[in-house]
């Protein structure tokens, strides 16, 4: 089978369709009210937003502290993070959180502080608290894995560098 035939065969594969329409979830996400409009009964969503906000703020603080080496990181130094945190939009926060996780991975060559471990463990505890009530949230599991991944990395680097003191 030459390249042309291969491409033609791939193009001729049948289209797939989801077992269930994604539209109801898309519509709900599009119409999600802003934080100030959310009903009081939406405690769970608030909790999730709080966790996400804490993680975004915390991870941003870690990044800032790693990059600057300062003892008291300033989250406000990242204006886009501050804006997102104020909005309270869960989706935006989680998206931002993912971006921050990516940045964390990218700055692995930077200096780390022992306090970073405590901060990360604090956020891990928050995620575990939420997972205790709903253990099938893929996004929360992803956050947990991300935090554990970072923790393993941070601990390994702290342990291998004699200049750090735990």
């Amino acid at each position: 089978m030459n390249d042309r035939h291969l491409a033609k065969a791939l193009s001729a594969l049948p289209q797939a369709a989801p077992e269930q329409s994604a539209w109801p979830d898309i519509e709900r996400r599009l119409q999600a009210p802003s934080a100030s409009d959310q009903p009081r009964s939406s405690v769970r969503e608030w909790l999730l937003a709080g966790i996400a906000a804490a993680m975004v703020g915390g991870l941003a603080a870690i990044i800032v502290s790693v990059q600057s080496g300062s003892a008291t990181p300033d989250v406000a130094a990242l204006p886009e993070v501050a804006a997102v945190t104020e909005s309270g939009q869960l989706e935006a926060l989680m998206m931002r959180s993912q971006e921050l996780e990516q940045r964390l991975t990218e700055i692995r060559a930077g200096n780390l502080r022992p306090e970073t471990v405590n901060e990360l463990e604090g956020y891990l505890a928050l995620v575990d608290l939420e997972l205790a009530g709903d253990d099938d949230r893929v996004d929360l599991w992803q956050q947990r894995v991300a935090l554990l991944d970072t923790l393993v990395d941070v601990n390994s680097r702290l342990a291998s560098n004699p200049t750090y003191q735990l």
């Binding site: 193009s11 289209q15 369709a17 989801p18 519509e27």
Partner: protein, 195 residues
Amino acid sequence: MTAQSSFAIEVPAQTLDAARAGDPAAQRTLYELFERPVYTLALRLCQNADDAHDALQDCFVNALSRLDQFAGDAPFWGWLRRVAINTTLQRLRAGQRYRLRVASVEDVEVVSQGRAETPGDQVDLLRAFARLSETARTVVWLHDVEGLKHREIADMMDKTVSFSKSQLARGRSRLRDLLDATPEPAPCPQLRPTA
């Protein structure tokens, strides 16, 4: 070399205008028009129904909430396809950091699930395609099925043109090897007329 992309669906300007203005009915029309192309793209690249479903959701949330960024100087489907590809690649990149994903038998079954009408050779092709590396699969699909140029693929994947070309060559070669290795179905026993 390729047939027209399954995304190539013309959308009436009034539908786009209404969707841009926030009309739920028009937005739903866009979803229904492009549900299958977006989901198929995501499923072929992710090889996992759950990830594909999530990518489908993310794609439309991203696209419909940013419709004002669609300039209108090119077909809407091209813009939406770019959003779909970027959304799917973002999901793949996120997954790569946390898990080493190997195409499993179960995933392949998901790919062909509910497609009783799918001919056997297409099932073989789906199985072989699922066994390509994530990167090769992405390049082969975007180039051979969606008709993207190497420059476009390289930009989307944040790689070089040479990378895209080599991945395409390797992916095609691997695909051919896998298809060649597919065992032929056992021949039916010959029926002989009884004396």
